[in-house]
């Protein structure tokens, strides 16, 4: 049966299980929007295409399924770009659909024409320009397959207006996807596997580094079983948080720039590193020349191009983390490693004393206290989405993740403005869960218009606005590395309570620690979305901190409350 290209678009998505798309209409994409009215797919109208992109990304991360964002040609499409790059850097399966000018106008600088496949070439896993209705359905099936398989990632399909208006016949799901050059299913060479097993057995001071790949392959239980059998402790990347319970004795915590001191020290002292589904980002390794010099390294990754990219690897194992762990599990020897674990325990030193949670309430509201209290009040069970900056690191440190898939954050790209729209996408993916977006006052304002999207969609999300009146992380860098010359970091903010109310949210302000918990409780009882404006200490910094480019052991520790430091304003 002949159908219009626009109908083929939605038919194909419905067949692939898509239930909701996030988008913004416009000229070139109008045929698709017209056909959308006859489709069962729910459309969420963002207030800016970047918001739609982050919503689709948040939806993908919260659901573990494909997210879909749709926009028109030209400015609509370019507004997606940050969101596409964000999905790329964090390997998020998102399908981006953009309208394009009619095929006969292509290449002539037509109204609202941009070369979208050209622009997104380096920030998509793959992309397509479709100018024939007869190709559309098959391209979409390919695109969805590529986005979701192997190492997931964003795929863009740019569709000319006439391809949506022409008719063609297409039956979704009847013709198999055939991509002769695409190998999402590579497997480790057997000899590499053998070497990995003996290296693990021989290691005296091994550490597992677990990243987002563990979560994406659903390998949490397998990892835990592996760790318990081998008694190897694990450090987690920011995006790996939650892959094993924070409270587990073999979970050291987050590694890297703002990881706890003992985590980074353990990595530096290790004689073996087993990296699982992580990519040795510079925020994780610090100075590469000084990184884990005494350790042999095993890298398990689904993407072969990550192996030996940043760190010289001894054994590279290509494959799915879960499958690899299951194969390793049957071959590695059960061991006790008490000496090593005790040594790591020693490294903790006075960290507990320095921890901000041990600091008494001195009347100033500290962001870390807000997040710690939020964790307590929600029993650590909320689905937490952050923006980017200091608050993000404090959430990573103090909103302890006991179960997988409850923490969504922009890691690789570090996209300010991600928090609120991603929380909207996450809430739509998991409507029955309590959703908290923890955002800073800087990033929040980049996509604050999406508050109205919450209201229009009747969503209940809670926003904890960590408001320190400045761009906190940038200010911290200026304090540490630019002689406290605070260039362009002070913010004159709007009245966030009024702003939220104007968008139809309930909102109020909290200035004392004593009021934090009650505010969280009140937010949970409110039927609609809520914004709490937490007025926190301005000159507060995230510790520990490994300065960019420094070795992992050269961290700036938390100031000790016992030994008075010379920098009393820390």
């Amino acid at each position: 049966m002949e159908r219009k290209g626009a109908d083929i678009l939605w038919d194909t998505l419905v067949h692939a299980g898509v239930e909701v798309v996030f988008g913004y209409p416009g000229g070139a994409i109008l045929p698709a929007y017209d056909a959308l009215l006859d489709s069962p797919i729910r459309h969420v109208l963002a207030r800016h295409e970047q918001g739609a992109a982050h919503m689709a990304d948040g939806y993908a991360r919260a659901s573990g399924r494909l997210g879909v964002a749709i926009a028109t040609s030209g400015p609509g499409a370019t507004n997606l770009v940050t969101g596409i790059a964000n999905a790329m850097l964090d390997s998020s399966p998102v399908l981006f659909i953009t309208g394009q000018v009619p095929s006969w106008m292509l290449g002539r600088d037509a109204f609202q024409e941009v070369d979208m496949t050209g622009i997104t070439l380096p920030i998509t896993k793959h992309n397509y320009l479709v100018s024939e209705a007869s190709e559309l359905g098959h391209v979409l099936e390919e695109a969805i397959y590529v986005a979701c398989s192997g190492r997931p990632g964003p795929v863009l399909v740019d569709i000319t207006k006439d391809a949506m208006q022409q008719s063609a016949s297409f039956a979704p799901g009847t013709k198999p996807v055939r991509l002769p050059g695409y190998r999402p299913d590579l497997r480790a060479l057997p000899e590499e596997f053998d070497r990995a097993v003996s290296m693990i057995d021989e290691a005296k001071r091994p550490v597992v580094l677990a990243g987002r790949g563990v979560l994406q392959s659903g390998a949490s239980d397998d990892l835990l079983a592996f760790l318990e059998k081998t008694q190897v402790p694990a450090a987690l990347t920011l995006l790996g948080l939650g892959c094993i319970p924070a409270s587990h004795p073999l979970n050291l915590g987050m590694m890297g720039m703002h990881g706890e001191a003992w985590v980074n020290l353990a990595i530096q002292e290790a004689d073996l590193i087993v990296a699982l589904g992580m990519r040795f980002d510079d925020r994780v390794t610090g100075n590469l020349a000084a990184y884990a010099r005494g350790a042999r390294k095993i890298h398990v990754e689904i993407d072969p191009s990550e192996i030996n990219k940043n760190v010289q690897i001894d054994v590279g194992i290509v494959g799915d983390i879960r499958e690899t762990l299951q194969r390793l599990m049957s071959r590695v020897t059960a061991k006790r490693r008490d000496t090593w674990l005790a040594r790591i325990d020693d490294m903790k030193g006075d960290s507990a004393v320095r921890d901000i949670q041990s600091l008494p309430d001195n009347g100033r509201l500290l962001a870390a206290h807000v997040i710690s209290d939020l964790w307590n009040a929600t029993q650590g069970k909320a689905l937490v989405i952050t923006d980017v900056g200091q608050h993000q690191m404090w959430v990573a440190q103090y909103y302890h993740q006991e179960t997988p898939h409850r923490f969504i954050t922009s890691g690789g790209l570090g996209t300010m403005g991600f928090g609120v729209p991603a929380a909207i996408g996450a809430k739509i993916a998991r409507p029955d869960e309590e959703v908290w977006a923890v955002v800073g006052d800087g990033g929040f304002q980049m996509t604050a218009a999406e508050l109205t999207t919450c209201t229009q969609e009747g969503l209940k999300i809670n926003i904890a606005l960590i408001n320190n009146g400045c761009l906190g992380m940038v200010r911290q860098w200026q304090e540490f590395f630019y002689s406290k010359r605070y260039a362009a970091t002070k913010l004159v903010n709007p009245d966030f309570v009024k702003l939220a109310e104007a968008h139809g949210l309930a909102a109020w302000r909290v200035e004392q620690r004593a009021d934090v918990r009650a505010a969280v409780e009140r937010a949970r009882l409110e039927p609609g979305s809520v914004l709490i404006d937490f007025r926190v200490e301005q000159e507060d910094s995230v510790y520990p901190m490994v300065p960019a480019g420094a070795g992992l052991e050269d961290m700036i520790r938390r100031p000790s409350p016992i030994v008075e430091t010379s920098q009393s304003d820390w």
Binding site: H15, A16, G17, S63, G64, R65, L66, P93, T117, G118, L121, P122, K125, H126, L129, E141, E142, I144, Y145, V146, C148, S149, P152, P172, G173, K175, P176, V177, R178, L179, P180, G181, Y182, R183, P184, D185, L186, R187, A188, L189, E192, L215, Q216, S217, G218, D303, P304, S305, I307, N308, K309, G316, I317, V318, G319, H405
Partner: protein, 201 residues
């Protein structure tokens, strides 16, 4: 032609990659863009059809050591339209450049120019009163040598293709490509067009 080149990297040398790609619009851009953004330097790149419809073959000469070549190979495989990559640097292979050189050549110099061509087994493919066009195939070194001898006569213009490479012997490039650090499992089932098996929750 695989001479040591001086650069920032110790023992950097030229790597020769044979790359099979799908013959689709934009594939050359994808490959070139990959080299640019990963900071691999292309010394030369040639593309042409193969005897298989829909498949093109590139010969890419890049500056770098063996580790760079492996990294490049793995990144090429990330491109959906790249079918096969083989590093032929260390394989017995025939590697050729083609050059067309237009040389100033009045009648008085003709004999000398023809002698040079003879020694280098280059062919004169066009001749006018004042100039000849010389065609030469060979290794980069041989062509450089020819150019050195032609330069005194006056090179008016010239064009070179960059290297093309093919391995020696009866075997084509291996049927089962060895992927970087990996193999392909026995049965490849990519018929699952939907999202099956990708729900990570």
């Amino acid at each position: 032609m695989l001479t040591e080149v001086t650069g920032q990297k110790a023992l950097a040398r030229l790597q020769v990659l044979a790359v099979y790609v799908e013959d689709l619009p934009g594939v050359l851009t994808r490959v070139a863009s990959l080299f640019r953004r990963r900071l691999f330097n292309i010394a030369s790149l040639t593309v042409g059809h193969t005897d298989q419809p829909g498949v093109s073959r590139m010969t890419i000469v890049m500056e770098g050591d063996d580790a760079d070549a492996l990294r490049c190979e793995a990144n090429l495989y990330r491109l959906v339209n790249v079918l096969r990559v083989e590093n032929v640097t260390h394989l017995p292979a025939v590697i050729r450049d083609l050059a067309l050189v237009k040389v100033r050549c009045p009648v008085s110099a003709r004999r000398e120019v023809l002698e040079v061509c003879d020694v280098f087994r280059a062919r004169v493919v066009d001749m006018s009163l004042d100039a000849v066009i010389i065609e030469s195939t060979g290794t980069e070194d041989k062509i450089e040598g020819l150019l050195d001898l032609l330069r005194p006569f006056g090179i008016i213009e010239m064009v070179r293709t960059g290297s093309v490479a093919i391995t020696r012997g009866v075997d084509a490039l291996s049927v089962d490509p060895q992927f970087v650090h990996a193999t392909v499992p026995e049965a490849v089932d990519s018929s699952d067009g939907g999202q099956g098996g990708t729900n990570v929750l």
